[in-house]
């Protein structure tokens, strides 16, 4: 049968398939031209930066390029004992060149990431190197500081030889490659990132739960109230969208601070003593309250759009068939809202997991999230590759959640509107 269909010709003798393709080609080009601006915009503002970020997070060329001769000389070094004179000589040659270009500071910062203690000995080496004599650089360098005679520090330099490295990712998980080349966790009291990851997940999870608990009844009201009331309620829901995020967060600061309105009210009704006002800000509570309020519309809107399509006669049918109002709700109404719940929860969770401004302002020390740490490394320590690595870990975390969600609920069941 398929061979028959292939032989169908149009009236002017061209095979049907060919002329169909011809006719559709124009439309395809038109369609492409329409999406082209967005496509280029996405490539420039999204694909390119993410690619750059991915590259930056593993890129370790800087040290490789600063010490080319050293690393070449180190190729034959087994790393057991102090390297030979030729390594020292090569290192001296590279170092003098760096000092001339005034780049030795960068080297010290980079090496310090790998092992603490490089900063001071590189400074000392720079000063001492001006008086170095030709030959026997091993002796001369080792005499600058006893750490230069420590094989650990030379191993640390050697570890920076590869152009690419995954150590930033390990650092993001509070792990590192030790001297023996094994991946181990850092000491207990220096683990900061794992706590942050867990806290980020925890806050995102509970914000999602709170949003869901509050949004469900609101969305139901919106979907069932008569038009004139539901419009008013809809405006109340959307009002936060029209207000700047910063303003909303700042107003929470006014409400939640210890001398703030909420605390005044609690004292006023005698719930708490005046000298024992609870701290509701600069901790997790602040993050929970402010983030829940700000992310609430993202839960309400998908829920509303799904509930709007559920015919009220379904609940009536459930009741008339003998189900109590609760049974009718639980067996009939609730299952039909699952696509909206899925969409809302996914949206809120993903937004919450990368939330930045609100936790930075009201979160305090115990309420900051991983995104604040990323910003800290972007702005303060300027360790962009570490910030990129954590950003990508966050992104892949979101993708994993998306994948899990697709496995469990099915992405086709999502309804955003």
């Amino acid at each position: 049968m398929s061979s028959e269909t292939k032989q169908i010709l149009t009236t002017d003798g061209i095979p049907l398939e060919v002329s169909l393709k011809k006719a559709e080609k124009k439309n395809k080009i038109k369609a492409f031209l329409l999406v082209a601006p967005l496509l280029f915009f996405l490539i420039i503002t999204y694909v390119f930066p993410i690619g750059d970020m991915l590259f930056r997070s593993v890129d370790d060329k800087m040290v490789t390029q600063m010490l080319p001769k050293t690393f070449k000389a180190m190729e034959s070094w087994d790393g057991q004992e102090l390297p030979e004179e030729e390594v020292f000589a090569a290192f001296h040659e590279d170092f003098i060149k760096l000092v001339e270009d005034k780049r030795e500071g960068k080297l010290s910062t980079q090496l310090n990431y790998t092992k603490n203690g490089f900063k001071s000995i590189i400074k000392k080496l720079r000063r001492a190197s001006k008086k170095f004599e030709e030959g026997n650089y091993k002796e001369q360098i080792m005499s600058v500081h006893k750490r230069w005679a420590d094989v650990e520090y030379w191993r640390a330099i050697q570890r920076r030889a590869p152009e690419f490295t995954g150590q930033k990712y390990l650092k993001g998980m509070d792990m590192y490659v030790n001297e023996e080349g094994k991946i181990v966790s850092v000491e207990e009291d220096r683990r900061i990132h794992r706590v942050l990851w867990l806290r980020t997940l925890e806050i995102a999870f509970f914000v999602t739960v709170f949003c869901f608990l509050m949004a469900y009844p609101i969305a139901h009201l919106l979907a069932t109230l008569p038009m004139k009331y539901s419009n008013l309620l809809m405006i109340c829901v959307l009002l936060p969208f029209w207000t700047s995020l910063l303003v909303r967060t700042a107003s929470w600061m006014i409400l939640l601070q210890q001398q703030g309105i909420v605390n005044d009210f609690f004292v006023g009704i005698g719930l708490v003593a005046d000298d024992n006002r609870p701290e509701m800000m600069y901790n997790k509570t602040g993050s929970y309250v402010a983030m829940t309020q700000i992310l609430l519309p993202f839960m309400v809107l998908p829920l509303y759009s799904v509930m709007k399509t559920i015919s009220p006669s379904l609940m009536r049918a459930g009741k008339s068939l003998g189900g109590t109002p609760f049974v009718a709700f639980w067996k009939v109404y609730f299952p039909l809202t699952i696509p909206g719940i899925g969409a809302g929860c996914l949206l809120v969770f993903i937004l919450a997991i990368g939330y930045y401004i609100t936790p930075a302002l009201v979160g305090g020390a115990s309420g900051t999230l991983i995104s604040n740490q990323i910003a800290f490394h972007m702005k303060s320590t300027l360790d962009w590759s570490f910030a990129s690595a954590m950003g990508l870990m966050l992104l892949s975390g979101v993708l994993v959640i998306y994948w899990l969600y697709n496995k469990i609920v099915g992405i086709d069941n999502i309804k955003l509107g």
Binding site: S313, R316, G322, V332
Partner: protein, 361 residues
């Protein structure tokens, strides 16, 4: 079968939504057990409101509804045990046909094997065996409709309410479903209250029809009586086709009255007129008037054919008769009626008994 005369009883029921307008006024309605009663009326006449009050989704503003002798105003819908078929079927889209039918049985905690038997029975009643595992979305409109009927019957309710259940179906399917529902009613003897605005549906299916207008029952009677003997001009207009003459009673005696029109006088059957001088509308069914009448008929008048519309088995003829240019006649197609031509003058006759002098509109 009809053991109780007032199985369902509306007792002086009023209903208002806004406190200003009564959508149901002083409704008094008894429905016997096993009866098929249709509430028929134009949209906004209060028929659906009555059904919703019976189902428990609306509360009467005043008055009381009794089901099997018990006042039900304070009983919530899920405890009334009334089956209901909704306008858009209201099948649960996330459940299979089987689960839809099992829902009323599960909430009643009926054991599974017994429930399965009931479901099988209900599905075979609507000839949908083998569809149990389908989702409602995979069924055609008529099949969904039948599932909805089966679901409303599966838990053996004493009373089933149907709210324009056939409204969304096409004409052929609607007609076959009408017979199907009628047969189901006859075979299991359940009491059915049916709401529709389609008069042919009401005439086909019902034991009795309550014609609603303006929040009131205009007439409650069997289909034939409703058609043949309408008690007021609304019912006469609403059910079937109707020729009317507006006039004034000039004489009334011996079960007949004379009605004076603008340019003639006709004899009519006084239904709602009592005395001379009353205004009245005389109603006459098109098939009760004949062309070429026999001399036995006491009304014979001449008219001019204005329009002839061919309908296959019969021809509709519009005649200008006694000042009414919309007088319709239905003439069976036979070779004896060949003189029906546009512009011809013909004689029309009818018995005064069939011309019902009703209230003026």
């Amino acid at each position: 079968m009809a053991s109780k005369k007032d199985f369902v009883k509306f007792d002086k029921v009023d209903k208002s939504y806004d406190g200003k307008v009564l959508v149901v006024k002083d409704l008094q309605l008894d429905i016997a057990e096993g009866e098929f009663v249709t509430m028929l009326g134009p949209s906004g006449s209060g028929k659906t409101t009555c059904l919703m009050m019976l189902a428990g989704f609306e509360t009467p503003t005043h008055g009381e509804i009794y089901l099997d002798g018990k006042a039900i105003s304070s009983i919530p819908p899920h405890k009334r045990g009334i089956g209901m078929v909704f306008q858009n079927y209201a099948l649960f889209p996330h459940m299979t046909v089987y689960e839809n039918l099992a829902f009323p049985l599960r909430v009643r905690k009926i054991p599974k094997d017994e429930a399965d038997k009931k479901i099988d029975k209900a599905l075979s009643m609507v000839s949908l065996q083998g569809f149990a595992s389908r989702m409602p979305g995979q069924l055609s409109g008529g099949q969904q409709q039948r599932v909805a009927v089966a679901r409303s019957l599966v838990f053996d309710p004493q009373l089933v309410l149907m709210d324009e259940p056939l409204g969304a179906l096409d004409k052929n399917l609607r007609e076959s479903m009408q017979y199907e529902i009628k047969h189901i009613h006859e075979s299991i003897g359940v009491t059915v209250v049916y709401v529709t605005h389609d008069q042919s549906e009401a005439l086909t299916m019902s034991n009795r029809i309550a014609v609603f207008n303006d929040g009131k029952v205009q007439q409650l009677s069997s289909p034939d009586e409703l058609y043949e003997k309408p008690v007021n001009s609304f019912v006469a207009e609403f059910i079937g086709e109707n020729n009317t003459f507006a006039g004034e009673v000039s004489d009334i005696s011996g079960g007949k009255c004379k009605v004076k029109l603008s340019n003639a006088e006709i004899l009519a059957n006084p239904i709602s007129v009592k005395v001379k001088g009353e205004r009245t509308t005389v109603s006459l069914r098109p098939e009760r008037a004949l062309i070429n009448p026999t001399s036995k008929m006491d009304n014979i008048h001449g008219g001019k054919i204005e329009e002839v519309i061919y309908h296959g088995d019969h021809t509709r003829v519009r005649i200008n008769l006694l000042g009414n240019s919309d007088f319709i006649l239905k003439v069976p197609n036979s070779s004896s009626n060949l003189d029906i031509k546009l512009g011809n003058e013909i004689k029309i006759g009818w018995n005064s008994e069939d011309a019902r002098a009703l209230d003026p509109k």
